[in-house]
């Protein structure tokens, strides 16, 4: 083998190695990211429950004294605690939403009235974290939120079999809350869904029609060149600028509702438009000219060529572009902050005009909250968001595979 051939082979090998190294690095970084988020977020999918023995009589139901009933049930574990501050600590073992759970249980089954019955209620977030082993017992008392006497109480409850960790179904079915143990992601999911629906409904027809006009009809002149350059530039505009535009236009000028998915969707639609237009134009351009000629040659009008042949053939590309644009919109935070979707909203939105928040903003809100338990919630919400994104991209890939045609 000649010297040159050897060098050529070596160069090829080196080049392949560089590529492998690059892919390896990317995979490693991605795996680290997902694993770390997964490890941090996993506890949020579980919740500690404490079994109380509650006595409810008709008078309590009448006057709605469930809060007091809950306290009484907790005090009953340690009747020896009499100090007012100590009692406050004691009842702080269970969630401040526990009385609601009891009320719902009684409303569900009125035969419980007048009896003493066992019920599992959520523990408070501090106790939850302690049970999950995230608070070290070796720390000096003043450095941890769970004090010595609380540890003793909880240990006692564990011994009695009154503490259990269960899958946290309500994380997927409730809205936001100031109490981490009650906070759920459903409100943000629904908000994201409504926002994306609006964004899709606005940007898909606008984007596709604009692209079809530019690609199939528009004459090649200075104006269309200018439009084309500007569409490409629009794709590179920082997203917060769209938020400012939305604030100035939709909220201040048109007086549309604050924090609502309808405005969020429209702002995201503006942001997604260039993506959809560029992807659609590329897809239209990829349809071979021979198909256009064939249709024109047997006397199809320009509109028929476009609607019968070009657009159906370009559809996989158009849909892929749209889904990728939507996935981008799903992950967008900054413009939504500008139009007030960062508000603290407990209710699940019922429509596109209700105040709501979206997944990435929910992550931002939780990441900003001081309670330690929100750290896990934040990561869990990121996992949910990533799942949605992966699903959307998978759908895009599937559509492309499914409708791909050869000619």
């Amino acid at each position: 083998m000649s010297e040159r051939t050897k060098q050529r082979y070596a160069a090829e090998r080196r080049f392949r190695l560089y590529g492998l190294a690059a892919i390896g690095a990317a995979v490693l970084v991605l795996a680290t990211l997902v694993t770390s988020i997964g490890i941090v977020g996993m506890p949020a999918f579980f919740q500690t429950y404490i079994k109380l023995d509650v006595t409810v009589d008709a008078a309590d139901v009448e006057s709605g004294r469930f809060r007091q009933l809950t306290f009484d049930a907790v005090y009953a574990f340690h009747p020896e605690v009499t100090d007012r501050r100590e009692k406050k600590r004691l009842r702080g073992i269970v969630s401040s939403g526990a009385d609601r759970e009891i009320r719902l249980a009684v409303a569900d089954d009125p035969s419980l009235i007048g009896t003493t019955f066992p019920i599992w209620v959520r523990s408070s977030d501090d106790i939850d974290i302690f049970i999950k082993g995230q608070v070290s017992r070796d720390l000096p008392q003043e450095d941890r939120r769970v004090k010595d006497n609380e540890i003793a109480w909880v240990d006692g409850l564990v011994e009695q079999g009154r503490v259990e960790t269960r899958f946290n179904f309500s994380f997927f079915s409730t809205g936001d809350s100031r109490e981490p143990e009650q906070a759920g992601i459903w409100g943000a999911v629904v908000g994201s869904f409504f926002t994306l629906c609006v964004a899709l409904a606005v940007s898909f027809p606008l984007g596709v029609l604009a692209a079809i006009y530019l690609e199939e009809y528009a004459p090649q002149n200075r104006w269309t060149d200018l439009i084309e350059v500007n569409i490409n530039n629009l794709a590179a505009v920082p997203s917060i600028v769209f938020g400012l535009l939305g604030l100035a236009m939709f909220l201040n000028f048109f007086g549309m509702p604050r924090s609502a998915p309808v405005v969020g969707g429209m702002v995201l639609a503006l942001m997604t438009l260039p993506t959809i237009i560029i992807a659609t134009r590329a897809a239209l351009k990829a349809v071979p000219p021979s198909i256009r000629e064939a249709a024109l040659g047997i006397g199809a009008s320009e509109l028929q060529v476009v609607t019968h042949h070009v657009v159906p053939l370009a559809m996989p590309g158009i849909l892929t572009g749209t889904i990728i644009g939507m996935a981008q919109a799903l992950g967008e935070t900054a413009p939504l902050l500008m139009i007030g979707m960062v508000a603290f909203i407990v209710d699940i939105p019922q429509g596109i005009f209700d105040p709501s928040t979206v997944l990435p903003v929910q992550i931002y809100i939780w990441a900003d909250s001081p309670e330690r338990a929100f750290v896990a919630k934040t990561s869990a919400a990121i996992l949910v968001l990533l799942t949605f994104l992966v699903c959307m991209n998978a759908i895009a890939v599937m559509l492309r595979k499914r409708f791909e045609r050869r000619w």
């Binding site: 021979s290 000629e293 047997i298 006397g299 028929q304």
Partner: protein, 270 residues
């Protein structure tokens, strides 16, 4: 202006004027932007004959062909001058509907280009958009007739629902011919229909062209002089955008008047 005068203008012998001319081009010029592609072409195409347009690459023969059904319209910056009549009607007058024109003047392209749809839908598409067949029964008939005329029925009748692109190259080209004749045109333009095919498929297409001559007027652009000699009754030789020579195929190939034609058909350039 009579056909005889037409042909006289392009310097043709009286002998050719036996059939009615279907398509007559008078002083056709074509510009692509600044570049002129055709210079004052005068050519009459007789009915129910095969007219071959030959010449080296870039000589304007395809350009002339595409003038006849106004396929040049879709090219940006293309201007056509002169008068081009089909059945005595100037097709470049503004009140001519180009869609109707293309239904009457069909086209078959260089590369087989079936739609990525079923064989059936490939043929049914034309009649469907022109409203030429009502109901499934009538459409079935149109599809069968077209496939029979294109000599594809026996091969395709059991697989009408399969995609047109699943056929072989030669079959695809016959499918394209069937598609073109399904709308029942008067004229069929063929732009090098065999250049992407093997010799056997080419032979089949040539046979087919000969059969189709009875019903349709055919204009074929070809690079192969043998093919022109085999299938055509008349031949026109283009060179550098000028119609150099035109006449009966036998005469063009055996006794060309112009020296350039002589050189081209004997292979001295091309």
């Amino acid at each position: 202006m009579s056909v005889a005068e037409q042909l006289e203008n392009s310097g043709q012998p009286e002998k050719a004027v036996e059939r009615k001319s279907k398509v007559i081009g008078k002083d056709i010029t074509v510009h692509y932007g600044e570049k002129q592609a055709l210079f004052d072409v005068n050519l009459a195409i007789p009915e129910h004959q095969v007219t071959a347009l030959i010449g080296p690459s870039g000589c304007g023969k395809s350009t002339f062909l595409r003038c006849i059904n106004r396929m040049n319209d879709v090219i940006d910056g293309c201007r056509v001058g002169g008068e081009l009549t089909v059945d005595g009607v100037d097709i470049y007058r503004s009140n001519i509907d180009v869609v109707e024109l293309r239904a009457r003047v069909g086209m078959v392209f260089q590369k087989p280009n079936p739609f990525p749809k079923s064989i059936y839908d490939n043929i049914a598409y034309g009649p469907r958009i022109h409203g030429q067949a009502s109901g499934r029964g009538e459409m079935d008939e149109v599809v069968e007739t077209s496939l029979r005329r294109a000599g594809l029925w026996d091969e395709a009748k059991d697989r009408l629902e399969e995609p047109g692109t699943s056929l072989s190259g030669g079959q695809q080209q016959r499918l394209c011919i069937a598609r073109a004749i399904a709308v029942n045109p008067d004229v069929i333009l063929m732009d090098e229909p065999c250049s992407a095919l093997d010799p056997i498929a080419t032979a089949r297409i040539e046979e087919l062209i000969d059969e189709l001559r009875e019903r349709f007027t055919i204009v074929i652009v070809t690079h192969s002089m043998q093919q022109a000699a085999r299938v055509s009754q008349r031949t026109a030789f283009f060179h550098l955008g000028v119609l150099v020579d035109e006449g009966e195929t036998d005469q063009i190939f055996t006794n060309p008047k112009d020296e350039r034609t002589q050189d081209y058909i004997t292979g001295r350039f091309g």
